[in-house]
């Protein structure tokens, strides 16, 4: 894109961990000026995740924080201090959007409810991302991806056949993040049309539950509960993940209809199976799936996972290697998704960019994650017009800063 779609939009990002930050990193990539607001009293907890305690500036070294906060500016402001709150309101007056994912009582405690922000800026869009919503008995319960996946029913569908439900390492944050970005862009579109801001609330658990319409309807209509089915599918058989040559290497295969089955038998060197009447229909293949799994494994185990997938694809059958983390960056297909991003204190790393091209140009990151308070000067001087003396005063009073207070006491 020659000019970016959200240029001219300013977003104050109070959100922490993954869901809110990922959403705003996307909006930043689209050209919004995203100001990530932390404080030296209460930096984003993601800064400490997988970071090496005791290293110099260790709160800057966490890989997950670095990956979740690209395309943003960094500001510190102590919102527990009346002056910090006044400065925040001054910024709200000059911004378009405020995003927060605190528990529901926090913004109220700061005196920064939507009503208060609206007094400062009637066109403001405020987005709140509570875990379970600002009402109901779960309102104040702690929540994160693990609990969202459990309470939304997603975990009920995930697991080996007949075994316990399992969680899916953080997918709840991604789902909440995408729905947040979608709703926020819709609110911006409405404001462009009508001039009106609004308050949007996304309960992260409910965004996740939006993906289980099918089993919910089965439950409400037929009183049936979906359970775990492993990798199998009622109308695609055989389907599975099969062992390949090497240690812990796997290939995913889906045979989608009877014709593909006949081809598949030839490709794996067992043409006689195509004549076996037990396997003529999808239903039959599903009934004898265990036996088929053994036959298929004895073929896949002889080949590298890329090799078997390519042979099957060349014959017109859906298949793909299960890529592990150590292969992904060098994978010929995914290489287009990786982008080098450099940051002064962490060096150059490959990061996934965004899975979309706009008129053939991939949406990419344009700046690394900010260090704590990195853009205090720019925000406070260029946007708010504060003097050097005032900034010094704020530093002395720990309303702004560049080092977490906690870093002084922790290991």
């Amino acid at each position: 894109m020659s000019s970016l779609p959200l240029e001219g939009i300013r977003i104050l990002d109070l959100s922490m961990w993954w869901s809110g930050p990922m959403c705003n990193s996307y909006l930043g990539a689209l050209g919004a000026e995203v100001i990530k607001v932390e404080s030296i009293q209460f930096p984003d907890g993601f800064r400490y995740t997988m970071a090496p305690p005791g290293e110099k500036d260790w709160w800057e070294l966490g890989p997950q924080f670095n990956a979740a906060n690209m395309n943003k500016l960094g500001l510190t402001l102590n919102l527990n201090d009346p002056e910090g709150r006044e400065l925040f309101k001054d910024l709200v007056a000059k911004s378009d959007v405020v995003v927060e994912n605190f528990s529901p009582r926090v913004m109220g405690n700061f005196g920064l409810t939507y009503e208060k922000l609206q007094e400062v800026n009637p066109r403001i869009i405020m987005v709140s991302m509570p875990a379970y919503g600002s009402s109901g008995p779960y309102r104040d319960m702690p929540g994160f991806a693990y609990t969202f996946e459990i309470l939304s029913g997603i975990a009920q569908t995930n697991g080996y056949e007949g075994e316990n439900p399992m969680i899916i390492s953080g997918v709840g944050d991604v789902i909440a993040s995408f729905h947040c970005a979608y709703g926020l862009l819709a609110a911006l579109e409405y404001r462009a049309e009508s001039g009106k801001g609004q308050h949007m609330e996304i309960a992260q658990s409910e965004a996740c539950a939006n993906l289980v319409g099918q089993p919910i309807i089965d439950a409400s209509m037929n009183n049936r509960n979906w359970e775990r089915v492993g990798n199998r599918h009622p109308t695609i058989a055989p389907q599975g993940v099969y062992p390949s040559k090497g240690t812990d290497r796997w290939v995913a295969i889906s045979v989608q209809n009877d014709d593909e089955w006949k081809t598949f038998c030839k490709v794996i060197g067992r043409p006689e199976l195509a004549n076996d009447s037990r396997f003529h229909t999808n239903e039959g293949r599903n009934q004898h799936h265990n036996e088929l799994d053994q036959l298929i494994s004895s073929w896949t185990i002889q080949l590298d996972h890329h090799e078997s997938a390519t042979i099957l694809q060349d014959a017109g059958i859906s298949a793909g290697p299960v890529l592990e983390v150590d292969e992904m960056e060098n994978d010929p297909f995914l290489s287009g998704m990786y982008q080098e991003v450099s940051r002064e204190c962490t060096g150059t790393h490959l990061f996934p960019s965004w899975p979309v091209k706009f008129s053939e140009a991939r949406l990419e990151h344009h700046s690394p994650a900010p260090t704590l308070g990195q853009h205090n000067d720019y925000v406070l001087k260029a946007i708010l017009g504060l003097s050097d003396e005032r900034i010094q005063f704020l530093e002395q009073n720990e309303i702004i800063g560049n080092q977490p207070l906690g870093a002084k006491i922790s290991k």
């Binding site: 579109e189 990798n231 694809q313």
Partner: protein
């Protein structure tokens, strides 16, 4: 009637299955005017999938279809017929957005490539969702949910160590939904862009690449030499979701203090400071020993008992509701999250409601999903200006 956020946006929806229809559901539920085009006589394959009331198959009574296609108008049109692409072009002329999730060459084959369509309407945004993207050496590969999850690396974190990796979300097709929501937000990014340039764009979303966003931090983690933990292949916790006497329960130990309290709760007193168990990594190494003791404890307690014990000992314990239990789960009930939609064939259907509340422009369901070809008469006559005879002729020819 209050306005909705996307009122006035006109969408032509050629999509099927889940990823495309979920994208247009998000648009329709915020007020966009969506006309969904389906194959005559058959319709979107999700019509054949169900769930159906009492398991009686009926193209007009599929729960999946009903959920994904609320608020849309539905017409039938044979896109492969000569008139088919002509009608699409007429509709496109007045539209803002086209959404499709065919394989990459299909639109071109139908004479409906993006290049053709922007000549008719330069402001048109076309969103294409495919397994591997519109370009590149992999674009013609065949994919299913499980293959996309495998090739994006999503799958390799799901499952137990030393067993086969698992497709996340079983038969939900979770990655299709996630890609549909990503396509929705990217479509709105193009709408924002059009306000500046007055030009449409082709929005090309890859499902497999969406899967990679699930794993972004693990690849990055291994490239940070100072990070104290390297990525391990499968992501498991222990304890996690556990089977107890009368169902499943979630137990999640985030801190060392939680482990101590967990030992008190389960009366494993002498393990409080036993280094074989105090951290997750150690517990996984001594899994058999841990399970040998923990499993009988679980089977001796009900969900309610464990929740109560969790509160007493300050151990994070979560109920793990089944889908039928979710319908009466106190948090969803208090917020009226599930809504009942009256459907002409299925009757009242309970389903997820608003994933977000908006103070000025509420999410809402204005009409149930269309029966197959329900809006043929309206669209062909009122919108496209055909008379009754012409429409009958098209029906006789199998075009509609």
């Amino acid at each position: 009637m209050s306005k909705q956020a996307l009122s006035g946006l006109k969408v032509i929806d050629l999509s099927w299955h889940i990823a495309g229809p979920y994208c247009t559901k998000l648009l329709a539920d915020l007020g966009a005017d969506v006309i969904k085009i389906e194959q005559p006589g058959i319709g979107d394959p999700s019509r054949r999938e169900g769930p159906f009331p009492n398991d009686q198959q009926d193209l007009n009574a599929s729960g999946l279809y009903a959920y994904l296609n609320n608020n849309k108008k539905g017409i039938t049109l044979n896109l492969k017929s000569k008139q088919g692409s002509e009608f699409v072009k007429k509709l496109v002329k007045e539209a803002d957005i086209v959404v499709e999730n065919f394989s990459p060459r299909v639109m071109e084959g139908l004479g409906l490539s993006y290049e053709t369509l922007i000549e008719i309407n330069p402001r048109l945004i076309m969103t294409s969702i495919t397994n591997f993207g519109q370009t590149g050496a992999f674009r013609d590969r065949k994919g299913t949910e499980i293959v996309a999850q495998a090739m994006g690396g999503f799958m390799s974190s799901v499952g137990e160590p030393n067993r086969e990796p698992l497709r996340a979300g079983g038969n939900l097709r979770l990655l299709e939904y996630i890609s549909g929501s990503f396509a929705g937000m990217s479509t709105l990014a193009a709408v924002a862009q059009r306000r500046k340039t007055n030009q449409g764009q082709h929005v090309d979303v890859s499902i497999t690449e969406c899967g990679l966003l699930q794993r972004s931090y693990q690849t990055v983690q291994n490239s940070f030499p100072t990070s104290p933990a390297k990525h391990v292949r499968r992501y498991v916790m222990m304890p996690s979701i556990e089977k107890c006497k009368d169902g499943y329960i979630g137990i999640n130990l985030l801190t060392g203090k939680h482990w101590q309290d967990f030992c008190l709760m389960t009366e494993m007193y002498e393990w409080i400071e036993d280094e074989r168990f105090t951290t997750l990594g150690q517990r996984l190494i001594h899994k058999d020993l841990f399970r040998e003791r923990f499993d009988p404890w679980l089977m001796a307690h009900t969900r309610e008992e464990i929740i109560e014990l969790g509160q007493q000992w300050r151990v994070p314990v979560n109920p793990v509701p089944t889908f039928t239990e979710m319908l009466n789960f106190p948090q969803y009930e208090a917020r009226k999250f599930f809504v009942e939609i009256e459907h002409p064939v299925m009757g009242k259907v309970t389903q997820p409601g608003a994933p977000y509340t908006m103070s000025e422009t509420p999410w809402k369901i204005q009409r149930p999903a269309p029966l197959l070809g329900e809006h043929n008469s309206y669209v062909y006559k009122e919108v496209l200006g055909l008379d009754g005879e012409e429409l009958e002729q098209l029906q006789a020819e199998g075009v509609v």
